[in-house]
């Protein structure tokens, strides 16, 4: 895993700071286009707040539709940051170096986007404060800490705070490089952010220990966040098909599956957009592809177990939902067809594409596989949440199915534009590939003679 030649530090600085010190011609038109989509969604949210959730397809009984599906999807994407950065940092995996920053930043922006979803889903967002804080003292309505809907914001805010601090601490040495290369007000800002960094041995030691400490601390948070998100469903008394005991690990592994796929696609886009062929190399995409085969198979195991456990109990409500998911029927939406599509594009198609080494090194094929996984993972959440609610149950007086309307479609689509826009704006002011990590990797590169072969190797201090 040590392909590519070691590059001079000056060239690394020049190449990786190009996105900050120069503005590509495509940059502002693309950001403007994404901004317009986000603006359209903001206007739609305004209309929705004004007229109420009645303009969406939500109804009684399907009260959790596109917005909650999208919430879980973006929380899932956010798991890539910790998966790649913390685990690979602790494992001292050399190939992590170009991927960590983009993954961590994607975590932050995905979490921010995810948090918007339940807020607008409430219909009256200004009342969101009452979710976590006392409604009003006179009425004596207090948050119920026994519901996962209160655990959720506490876990997600912890994860967002942790991830942001993790990124900021890792950025400090790069802030110092920018401080020494800029003038005017950017220099003032970078000087403050660099916190007096000069690169002495004490600072480097603290920086490395901080990385290890924060990685170790953030890992349990990463597992807890998506577990708690799964309990939003698992602990909902009314919906029988959500009471699966494998939900927590199933959600966590699924989140890693979609998150790492999203990072791979983001890395391929960055490589193409900023000409970072020397930094984001085929070997990195190849390694991530191999990791994804393992993660995808782990996810597939939990998917099958979730279905088997559901059917094994032979409970009427549960069987009815499984029938709705898997069998053709007279209901409006052909869930069974969507189930086949979802399993095909989330597991079988991408894993087949990831198996041959040559295909893992083909960026077009990898892009297609990663997009396929994410479309599939979005569908997975939809097919997990909506049929359970749409199923006819005892004493249900309306038996509506769920057909999303234009506001939901527009807002969900705009979340992708929002995250892309934030990533691009971030790349305009901060390096998306860590400079010192790349330079350190290049310094540690070497070659070893083993018998008649010369193989790439890495020096490492434990």
């Amino acid at each position: 895993m040590q392909e590519g030649k070691a590059l001079p530090a000056a060239q690394v600085n020049r190449d990786l700071l190009r996105s900050i010190l120069e503005t590509p011609r495509w940059f502002w038109p693309v950001v403007s286009l994404l901004g317009m989509v986000v603006l359209a969604a903001a206007v739609t949210i305004g209309i929705m707040v004004d007229r109420g959730l009645g303009i969406t397809g939500l109804n009684y009984k399907v009260v959790w539709g596109f917005f909650i599906t999208n919430f879980v999807f973006w929380i899932g994407i956010s798991h890539a940051g910790v998966m790649l950065s913390a685990i690979l940092r602790l494992a001292k995996a050399e190939w992590r170096r170009p991927a960590t920053r983009a993954a961590e930043v994607l975590t932050i922006f995905s979490l921010m986007t995810a948090m918007i979803m339940p807020i607008i889903h409430t219909g009256r967002p200004w009342r969101i404060l009452y979710w976590a804080f006392p409604y009003d003292f006179a009425r004596g309505v207090w948050p119920n800490i026994r519901t996962p809907l209160v655990w959720d914001p506490s876990a997600i805010l912890t994860y967002l705070t942790s991830s942001t601090l993790f990124v900021l601490i890792a950025l400090v040495p790069d802030f110092a490089v920018l401080r020494d290369r800029t003038t005017g007000w950017p220099k003032i800002v970078y000087t403050m952010l660099a916190m007096g960094w000069e690169g002495n041995p004490r600072q480097w030691k603290l920086q490395i220990i901080a990385g290890v400490l924060l990685s170790a601390l953030i890992l349990p948070v990463f597992v807890s966040v998506h577990s708690i998100v799964s309990w939003d469903f698992g602990m909902a008394v009314a919906i029988k098909s959500w009471h699966s005991t494998v939900f927590a690990p199933y959600f966590v592994v699924g989140a890693v599956h979609s998150g790492v796929s999203a990072v791979v696609f983001a890395m391929i886009l960055l490589r193409w957009a900023y000409g970072w062929q020397d930094y984001i190399r085929h070997e990195h995409i190849d390694a991530l592809g191999r990791l994804l085969i393992v993660v995808a198979t782990g996810w597939f195991y939990f998917l099958v177990m979730e279905i088997i456990f559901g059917i094994y109990g032979l409970e009427g409500d549960e069987l009815a939902v499984r029938a709705l998911q898997f069998l053709p029927g007279d209901h409006g939406v052909a869930y069974n067809i969507w189930m086949i599509v979802f399993v095909g594009i989330t597991y079988f198609l991408p894993v087949i594409l990831w198996l041959p080494k040559a295909w893992r090194r083909n960026l077009w094929i990898m892009s297609a596989a990663c997009i396929s996984v994410n479309v599939g993972m979005w569908l997975e959440r939809y097919l997990l949440f909506v049929p359970g609610q749409a199923n006819k149950q005892f004493q249900t007086f309306t038996w509506n199915d769920y057909l999303p309307q234009w506001p939901e479609a527009l807002i969900v689509g705009a979340t992708f534009a929002f995250v892309s826009m934030l990533m691009l704006l971030f790349s305009r002011v901060f390096p998306l590939v860590p400079l010192y990590d790349i330079k350190e990797g290049d310094i540690l590169k070497t070659e070893m003679q083993i018998g008649r072969r010369t193989v790439p190797a890495t020096f490492r201090e434990d």
Partner: protein, 169 residues
Amino acid sequence: MATQAILGLFDDASAAADAGDALKASGVAESDYHFLTDIPYPEGAFGEPMERHSLFVWPLFGGALGIVLALVVAGMTPLAVPMTIEPKPILAMPPLAVICFAGAMLGAILFTVIGIAMSLRTRIASPHSDDRIATGLIGVLVNAGAAQEPQVTEILNDAGALDVTTNRA
């Protein structure tokens, strides 16, 4: 007495380490010179003493504080305003554990970062540096009195410095 920040730039780690040895031999205190690099070098690569730190204490303290605060918020709320849902207890352990876990982790991470900021001896002002260090050169930064400047400059040059600059405070 006015102090000078004298920076010698080296392209070789051994030469920088030799400069450190020569400075020490000439009577410059170890706390008065530092090695500046653009990547983390193995500890002791320049013959510098092992750094001690107490960073591990911060997350422990923050975690404990986080648990206490979470217990207060998540425990006191249902006790103050009981919401009876039979047969569930008013003060249920599983939700308390979930909230306390989040509180402990948040406290630990916040205090780790505070600890890092304190240990880095954070300052807003830009240190005496040289952007050539970011291109792979190794800096030896010496804080010395005006009288020592010629001697320090000579030591750095003798050790093979590519350039020596002085920043007068």
